[in-house]
Amino acid sequence: MSTTTSQDEQAEARRGAFSGRRVFILAAIGSAVGLGNIWRFPYVAYENGGGAFMLPYLVALLTAGIPFLLVEYALGHRYRGSAPLSFARLSRRTEGLGWWQVGICFMIAVYYAAVIAWALSYTVFSFTQAWGEDPDAFFFGDYLRAGDPGVTLEFVPGVLVPLAVVWVALVAVMALGVSRGVGATSVIFIPVLIVAFAALVVQALTLPGAAQGLDALFAPDWSTLADPAVWAAAYGQIFFSLSIGFGIMITYSSYVHRRTDMSGSALVVGLSNSGFELLTGIGVFAALGFMAQASGVAVGEVATSGIGLAFIAFPTIVNEAPAGAVIGVLFFASLVMAGFTSLVSVLEVVISAVRDKFETSRVRATLVVTIPCALISLIGFSTTSGIYVLDIVDHFINRFGILLVAVVSMVVIAWGVRALPRLRDHLNRDGSVPVRGWWIALVSVVTPLALAFILVRELWAVIEKPYGGYPQWMLVVFGWLAAALVAVAGFAIARVPWRPETSLDVGDRPENDTTARSQP
């Protein structure tokens, strides 16, 4: 028994580990805090009842977000592997779910890097306000050179160069390993990101019209609480912003020391993510309030989200605001940092899985994963049609990739292999927050039902009206086929046998079930 444990520990040392719980928490926050926190949350809150939205949002955090986070932490921490290895150790038949998540992460990494490259360009543009008087025309026309929806191989150097820079930085960080690469990136970037965004918020709050913006965001419309769509939006926001459901938290928690308080860590990570979202809401709507006042319109007319908020509304604010360049640099640098730490976590899911399955070195696994990923990214997303492909892949992979695999994996864990009591005991072994029957009820009933409800609504929406008005063939190829491909490829890879040196018995041995923290 002790020889096996020693072999496991040697295998874990080869995989790499975070140097401590603080680094793990920062890395998990770095993964959770991404572009969606900055450009999605403020508008979702505004659109769904303003201040009243905070109620379903908090309910969703406590009944689905943190409980789901605990499932992934328990899975990765108990079974000590990447998503496929942890699922394989949970039950041989569930390995495919892990590879499905790996496929989704590969797909996301390919296009997510392009958005970071745009933000990188705009950080530089902020100094001179290179977008001029019409940021909308500049973004789509001068910068992206976007033509009609379709597929072209007409490269845009202004996107190609920063995208190549992003990929070089990613390869370097990923090759450095778990502690010196993934962990160190978050240890540096997350405090800087918080300080930069806090400075942006302070600056935005001093602008004329900021109070109007905050009023628009926080004035509660209590009647919206009776609308199921508002509750679905709250559960969706929590789900998409916490980086749950696609293997990141499984992978990260497998790099944490065995005797670590995972339940207390989950509480900190979940609330940090929401704390940052609240900060972005205040900053973004204070700035939008200024923009509305400067344009002489209501806040509702300038409020927007996503690409429109980042690359059109914010440049307009920068043009009008005193010390606009400072606001621009802080905002776009924040996007770069938030996006980069999230992208690192997405890539780590793929690299970790390749390392575990093929017992290969860190550098080799990094190159095997990042070079094809970078090539697809550079060829597909630095062209004049890149933004359309990106929009479709993002829409479908989020809904019919991440959301679907989350529902399926939650049902399989709770009802298929009935692993929740095991995972609960694992969390309670060293956890400072007691996990009881309420958690099992939430993750076996409430979370799957809430996510399934959102999934059905999304499915109905795309059936009713083709997404974005794109040509049908583009929706089929880059939407439905891409989402199906990752699932099929995932279950196909799961049929490849593990190397003989990889033990699949880790996690369910008696020594892992000890309830004593330290016996005298």
């Binding site: 303003g50 201040g51 908090l58 009023d215 004035a219 308080d261 207390g264 509480l267 900190v268 609330l271």
Partner: protein
């Protein structure tokens, strides 16, 4: 800003950031208790 908006802003800040502060303090206290417990077992 209207009064309901101010109230919701203050409540959101108190609940979310207050909750985060509580979670951080809880984690620190649990660490300290764990360290004391381990120290005791070492002595025994």
């Amino acid at each position: 800003m209207s009064t309901p908006a101010i109230v919701m802003l203050v409540v959101s800040v108190l609940v979310i950031w207050g909750g985060l502060l509580f979670a951080l303090l809880h984690l620190r206290r649990a660490d300290r208790e764990d360290a004391i417990e381990q120290e005791m077992h070492r002595d025994l």
